[in-house]
Amino acid sequence: MAASPASDHAAEHGLGHVLPVKTLAATFAALVALTLLTVFTGKMDLHGFDLAVALIIATIKATLVALIFMHLRWDRPFNGLVFLITILFVGMFLALTVTDRSQYERDIHRFDRAHPAEAPTGE
């Protein structure tokens, strides 16, 4: 099962691209290392950067899975484009909704303060 450089040629099998086991194993090792890293940084106090660090590590892991396990690096570029466009649309969805919520948050608090009796009790 040794990795041979020749298997880099997609043309060899006509369809798709055969990945050497070495590449797969290295990717897996990197993913495990990053998981341990994120658990470790998660237990540290990073002064407000916790979320950013956790998300950056998660994004690196996701990129590795997408590019190597999911073959995007060797696949037709359009498939990768589909993936990127999806991320873009999710981002747009998230950005507009969160912008709005962060703005009307104040209205909710103002209402709660003005009408303590009407504020939902949770029952």
């Binding site: 798709g16 194993a25 897996f28 916790d50 899975v65 190597i68 589909v82 999806t86 998230l94 969160v98």
Partner: protein, 243 residues
């Protein structure tokens, strides 16, 4: 090994393969949009109630979450390896890798079941006051909780006594668990579907259905499985690692 069957409306095997693959990618796109709803809900509530999320997240067991992450990563690795074996026509390797993938997925669900039942017993459920910890008797819940999560002797329960807890915080903790169960539940459903797909592939592999010219099903099944892994890669830090 069998040859790929060419459907009547395609010109070549290559066109058929490319078509199937693009179709799968677009399906994955719809899956991501599907999960995006809960990610948006998560972000909205986390942005406005960071404290409640931080507090509630401590009731999740990071070690179990990390173990599940590693299980899914391993299964993703074997799924990718299975594709390689199918491409090279290695039947034994293919079946072995698919089997490991299924076993890892079952392990994931087992841990998930343990987590769910643990939370159920402690009343760590959704819905603010209706089902949650806050209705339970703190004297009974307390020792188990102390035992259950890391962080040394000091329990979160001591700093926020249940009886005196701010009702707004109570509700937000309920929302956190609502989102936790929806996200992990939806993900769990996808894992179950994935197990089904892997077993189907295993059955087909055992009947020599796959070969160097005919591995589309394995490839697409693995793509789906990687997406399930990909979602979990984000769920883990977002739910378990809020500090």
């Amino acid at each position: 090994m069998s040859q790929a069957k060419l459907a009547h409306h395609f010109e070549s095997v290559e066109q058929q393969f490319d078509t199937a693959k693009l179709g799968m990618w677009i399906f994955l796109l719809t899956e991501i949009m599907f999960f995006s709803v809960l990610f948006v809900a998560y972000t909205v509530y986390r942005a406005s109630h960071a404290d409640a999320f931080q507090y509630a997240s401590q009731f999740l067991d990071t070690n179990l979450g990390a173990a599940n992450t590693l299980l899914l990563l391993l299964s993703s690795f074997t799924a990718a390896w299975a594709v390689r074996c199918a491409q090279l026509g290695q039947k034994r390797g293919l079946m072995l890798n698919l089997l490991v993938t299924v076993v890892c997925a079952l392990g994931f669900m087992g841990i998930k079941y343990h987590e769910y039942s643990h939370k159920y017993h402690e009343g760590l459920l959704w819905g603010g006051a209706r089902h949650s910890i806050f209705k339970a008797d703190p004297a009974q819940v307390l020792p188990e909780m102390k035992h259950g999560h890391e962080g040394g002797g000091e329990s979160v329960w001591e700093s926020h006594h249940v009886e005196t807890m701010d009702p707004a915080l109570k509700k937000q903790v309920g929302i956190f668990f609502g989102i936790y169960f929806c996200l992990t539940g939806l993900h769990g459903i996808h894992v179950l579907v994935g197990i089904g797909v892997m077993l189907w592939l295993l059955w087909r592999a055992s009947r020599d259905h796959f070969g160097p010219d005919n591995f589309t099903a394995v490839d697409l099944g693995a793509l789906y499985w990687h997406l399930v892994d990909l979602i979990w890669i984000f769920l883990f830090p977002l739910l378990y690692l809020i500090s």
